[in-house]
């Protein structure tokens, strides 16, 4: 092998020598040089200089265009960073055509389902622009049915997820595991494994429970526990509303109502007058939430 390497080195040196021998003589090179120079002299008048000039003009407008583009990109990047924490207005329109998956419910009714991320960063506004109820499935398996024009956003909370209901009505079927919160302008509902509806409006909120137990806390008020068939209202209008009226918009209204247990005696007396009489209402203060037992006609 070493011998072959040595031989290849010798052969390379020989090739260099052969190459030197084969190189054209000075006279030959001069002849070629003069010939080429003559041809260059002849061709010079025919050379169109326009392409060079065009290139120059091209560069003249290209530089400011590229510069402007870079500045615009920088501004966009800066704005993205600065406004990252600000919730944009409605980002997602919940439409049947845009949801990623479609599930068939046990009763055969087709519902649209969108799976949402749960990190705080991913909080985004969702509005149902359809004329019928639309269903979201959260990461923990909870299902949220939005009434037409309902608007909410979803974020992460300690030990679970939180639904910020801006306006409209929703029916929540909370998963057994994990904690789910629903927050409106006037109250917060926390729950584990229950079925309930929440209606939020500028005048107040109303929570109706169909199955399980939920904990409702009015802003600056004491927490309340609601069982199946009970209702809690905040704001000016605290009139008890039949439960079927609360979920009349839902295509699964009958299913939710079927969850209701046989009528139970009222836990708390219905509110009378401007002063609420729910649990905790005795501690005074007007404007407290009212709890009522509202069993639909079945």
């Amino acid at each position: 092998m070493t011998r072959r390497k040595q031989r290849s080195g010798q052969m390379l040196d020989r090739a260099i020598l052969e190459g030197l021998k084969a190189m054209p003589s000075i006279q030959d090179v001069d002849e070629v040089g003069m010939r080429v120079l003559e041809r260059l002299r002849e061709s010079a008048p025919d050379i169109d200089m326009e392409p060079h000039v065009q290139t120059s003009r091209h560069a003249d407008w290209l530089v400011p265009v590229v510069g402007t583009s870079i500045i615009v990109l920088c501004l966009v990047a800066w704005a993205t960073v600065v406004f990252k924490g600000v919730d944009p207005p409605v980002e997602v329109l919940l439409k049947t055509g845009t949801v990623p998956t479609v599930k068939r419910r046990p009763d055969g009714v087709k519902s649209s389902v969108v799976r949402l991320p749960t990190s705080a960063d991913s909080r985004r506004n969702i509005r149902n622009t359809e004329s019928t109820g639309q269903t979201l499935t959260l990461a923990d398996g909870s299902r949220v049915e939005l009434a037409p024009l309902a608007e909410l956003s979803i974020g992460a909370a300690s030990g679970g997820e939180v639904i910020y209901l801006a306006t409209g009505s929703i029916v929540v079927t909370a998963a057994k595991q994990g904690h789910l919160y629903v927050e409106t302008l006037t109250c917060t509902v926390s729950v584990e494994g229950a079925v309930f509806s929440v209606r939020s409006a500028s005048s107040g909120s109303r929570v109706s429970v169909f199955e399980g137990v939920v904990r409702v806390e009015e802003k600056n008020g004491a927490p309340q526990r609601l069982g199946s068939g009970q209702q809690f209202s905040t704001g000016a209008d605290r009139t008890a509303v039949p439960l079927e009226g609360e979920i009349a918009w839902s295509s699964n209204a009958a299913g939710y109502l079927a969850l209701l247990q046989p009528p139970l005696p009222p836990v708390f007396p219905p509110p009378s007058g401007p002063r609420a009489q729910g649990r905790g209402g005795g501690r005074g203060g007007t404007g407290r939430g009212g709890v009522s037992k509202t069993i639909p006609d079945q």
Partner: protein, 178 residues
């Protein structure tokens, strides 16, 4: 030397002619070493200076005219050989044997010469540049470094790599006949 302004009224100026006369031999010999063919080398020479007439690379020429022209010659020659190799694969062996007959009489020398310029064309252009300047043109490492605008170390390393590649190529090409 100013090359960018060497043209006025589309006539060859004195500066351009001086640039040509000072460098045409280096350009032609570099092209000839790689193409192994006088006609191809002449084409490279003409193409290169025609490009200058069209001011395609005037800025680079201004800095180091000789180095630029030499490098451009090597690159253009390598391109020419690669294009020709592709074309030759399509033409008959008769034509090829006619071309081979033009160079050295001794069969072995002819074979080595054929191999050398083909091997040079397969080298990386930077390696071919350094190898030719050092071994064919006879420049020292310092002169090569100065001409190409690189350090002496770079020249030495590039030269070493070029020689290693060429030796490998020799072993592959000549095999047992070594």
């Amino acid at each position: 030397m100013t090359v960018t302004n060497c043209l006025t009224d589309q006539i060859l100026t004195e500066d351009f002619e001086r640039l040509f006369l000072e460098n045409y031999d280096l350009v032609y010999r570099a092209a000839y070493s790689i193409t192994g063919n006088p006609q191809d080398a002449e084409d490279v020479l003409q193409t290169l200076f025609l490009r200058l007439l069209r001011r395609e690379n005037p800025v680079q020429v201004e800095k180091n005219p000789r180095g630029y022209l030499y490098r451009a010659a090597v690159h253009t020659a390598i391109d020419a050989v690669r294009t020709r190799s592709h074309a030759e694969s399509l033409i008959s062996s008769t034509v090829l044997s006619e071309r081979t007959a033009e160079i050295p009489e001794d069969k072995r020398s002819s074979e080595i010469w054929e191999w050398l310029h083909k091997a040079l064309a397969k080298l990386h252009p930077k390696e071919a540049e350094v190898f030719l300047l050092r071994h064919i043109e006879g420049y020292s490492n310092v002169e090569v470094a100065h001409l190409l605008g690189v350090s002496r170390g770079t020249v030495a390393v590039t030269l070493f790599r070029a020689r290693v590649r060429l030796k490998r190529s020799i072993r592959r090409h000549f095999g047992d006949s070594l």
